[in-house]
Structures are given as structure tokens and as C-alpha cells.
Amino acid sequence: MAERLFQLSIWLVALLVLLILLWLVQGLLDQGLAKLSFEFLFSHPQNAGRDGGILSILVATLLILAVTLVVALPLGLASAVWLAEFTTTNNVWARKVRLALDVMAGVPSIVFGLFGYAFFSIFMGMGFSILSGGLTLACMILPVFIRTCEIGLRDANDSWRQGAAALGMPKIKAVWYILLPAALPAISAGLILGIGRSTAETAALIFTSGYVDRMPESLMDSGRALSVHIYDLSMNVTGGDAAAQASALILLMVIILLNMLAFAVTDLWLGRSVIND
């Protein structure tokens, strides 16, 4: 009896959480779905975003993301390779770097926003720009990205390292031709995670990439990210709810897609490590 009751209550709570998720999605579909169309995706916002679409917003979002990845990808990969392959676990410098990364991972996103605003926008003179927003996001996603890549590299089978060494391959070549490809699923999972966090981020962008909803013409232009668009429509534009919900649906679809990709990639990775064992 007690057993039954226990199971039942757990099922109920689990169901409740699922219902909240459905409620959330339904709440967005409520007004957002009617607004959603190809035209919405491919026309410019008008009337402070109440009418028209989100084309310039999407372009700005992609540009910010591109800046973030161009900076974070090489820097992150190089750091992960250094941490995983060129230092021992107890190396003093490696430990310092790891501690710094852990601390950085904990900094609230609004503080990254403050930093980006003070450093990139004002001190470096980039103003409110896509470049400034992208760089701020790069700082934000680096710690988690490096950590995922490092773990992926460490998981690569040691016999591959030994094999490469036995063949007289220089270490850097072994990394490039053998270990990085082996860690590719982990790297892509980390990358997808980073892309997800970047597209979801709002607080760090409000004061770095700014609010301007015109089509950006260069990286030095201010560009409004999709998340900032949702925020602005719901808080500062009366009658902007429908457009905000439609934009949120688009954002949500992107996130779901990224999540499915991450799941597929992780499955691949797990499948692999079983074979390697």
C-alpha cells in the first residue's frame, strides 16, 4: 500500500512538471501562433516591432553568434588541448587556469553585461555594437566550452596517444589528426551548448549590442538580438505581446532543435566510448 502511494505521488509530481512545461508552450502559442508565418520571418519590424517581422533581428542575432563563435572556438579549443594534453593534472598553472575558469563560469550574466559595456563598448570604443555583444558572449561561454572539450579529449583512449607516440608523430600532429577527431562529439556537444546559451542570453546583451532594430550594416552597428527583442516588446511596447510570443516561439524552436542535436551527438559519443572499451 505504502509502496503504491509512494509511486503514485512521484508519478503525479513528475506529471505536474510536464504539465507546467506544456502550459508554458501553450501560453506562447496562445497569441504567438496566429502571428507566425514566413512573412513574419522575412520582413522587417515596423511600428516598434508590433507589426512586420523579425528579419533584421534574426540577422543581428546570427551576426552576434558568428562573432562569439569565431572568437570562442579557436581560443577554447586551444585552451582545452593545452589543459588536456600538454599539462599534467597537478600542474600549478593548469590548476590556476582551471580555477579561473570555474570562477568565470559562476559570474552572473548581468555582470558580464556590465563588464562588456564598460570594457568593449566604452573603453575599447566599440559603442553599442554587434562586435561588442559577440565578444561579451564569447567571454561568457568560454569556461563551459573549454571544460566540455577538455573532458572529451581526456576521454580519448590512451592507446591512441601511445600509438601515435610509437609511430614518432609529433605531439601536435597527434592532437590534430587523432585526438581532436576522437573528441569531436564532445566538442560539438560543447559547441551546441554554447550556441544555446548565446541565443538564450539577454541580460549580457542589453548594454553591449543594444536595442536598435534596423538592419545592421556592419559589425560596428548596434543590432538587436532575438532575446532582447522579446524583452523589449513585452516590457516597453504596449500591444507588443503577440509579436513577443511569436518571436519567443521562434527562439524556442531554435533551442529545441539545438537540444535534439546535442542529444543525438551525445548518444553518438556514448555509443562510441562503449565500443572503445
Partner: protein, 268 residues
Amino acid sequence: MAAIVCAAILLLIMTVMLIEAWPALSSRHLTAFIFDKIWYPLEGQFGMLSMLVASLMVMVIAVLLATPIGIICAIFIVYIAPARIQKIYRFAIALLAGMPSVVLGLWGLTVLVPLVNHWSPPGMSVMLAGIVLSVMILPTVTLTSVAAFKSLSGALQQAASALGIRQHVQILKVFMPAASGAIMSGVLLAMARALGETMVVLMVAGNVVQFPTGLFEPVRTLTANIALEMAYATDLHRATLFVSGLLLTSLVLAMMSLASKIKSHNNG
């Protein structure tokens, strides 16, 4: 080399924050930020206590709600759900984990606020911010608890079954205590996330600077305050916003380091 650059970014962040905060830090005693009576930046009153209390209250509500529900979801995933449902459920939790906070805020603002407004206007309140935040941090609790349960040794499970202990007693009296350290550290991580979150509280807490006198009063948190005032703040006011950023960061980091201490203590 690249790793040094990454670590240097942290130093850069801290340096920039300190430099920007310096005019405020040097001109007045640290306690003034807490004990000035009110936040009235245009008249040089920079008392953050009401916003700090609001931040902490919202966080506490969120954690009180998310912890039991999150742990139960983890028990569901690990011990109760059939394999197929488990997979779907994990995906749902992962989706919730990736949910942009601005979307949660939008949901709170357009769906929940009008609902609460019916019987307790204005609707935007400490309580509601706590509830929406609890939805946001629930996946953190669940995912870390799932990991905690899964890392328990198989011998523990076998011993519990061999003794013929019923499943719910196994879970409550054997697995939960065994995993409690790791679960606790997950809860602390969730707390840190709740405290550092901006968008949700900015959109549903109401943004009125006051000491919360009831659960359904609107309040403004430290994070929301930065987002609201950074656009026009100058001089001492601006520096004070950076001080509040530093305060937030140190609180969040303290929680995170406590979390990792508990975790390593547990493993060691």
C-alpha cells in the same frame, strides 16, 4: 598560451569591475551601501539593503519550491519511470534547462501576472518571481540529483535489494542519504543561478524599490536594478551599480565554492 588568455579574461573582468566601482568604493564606507536608508540615487542615497533582501527572498522561495520537486523528478527518472518514458522525460527536463530566461519571463508576464492580478493586484510580486524562477532552476536540481543517484555504487543497490527492503524505503532511507551531499551541492548551484538571474525577476517581480512586507508585494532585485538603471546612470550612481555587481558576483561565487567543497568532501 590560449589558456592563459582565457584566465586573463577573468582578471580583466575583475579589474574592470573594480576600476569602475572604485569612485563609489573609495568615497564612502562599505557599510553605507547596506545601511543607507533608501535607494534614491539622484539624491545620493545608495542603500541596497531592500534590493538585497528582495534578491534573497526571491531566491529562497525559488529554492524551497524547486528542491523537493526537482529531487522527486530525479527519483522518477532514475528509479520509477519505464525506459521509454524516461527518455522522453529527460528530454523534457533538458528542454526546460535550455529554456531562455527571457521566454520564462514572458510567460510569467503574459500568462501568470494577469492570473495573480485577479485576486492580488498588481500581480507582479516576490512570490510570482520566486515561482517562475523555481521553474528555471528545477532542471539544475533534477539533473545534478540524477547524476548523484546514478553515481551510487551498484553494491549499495544490491545490498538494499538483498535485504528485501521495499523500493520506497530503499529510495528514502538508503539512496537519498547516500546521495545527499551531491544533491546538496546541486541545490547550491541552483541557488547561485537563481540569485544571478536577471530577466525573470526584471519581468515579473514588479521593480518597485521597497522592503517586501508581504509575499504579494512588488519588489526590485539587485540584478533587475542594474538592468534598469545602467542606461542612464552617471558618476557615483554608475559606480554604485558596479559595486552591486561585485556584491552579486561574490555572493554567487561563495555559493558555488561551497557547492564544490561539499561535492569534493563527499567524493573524498
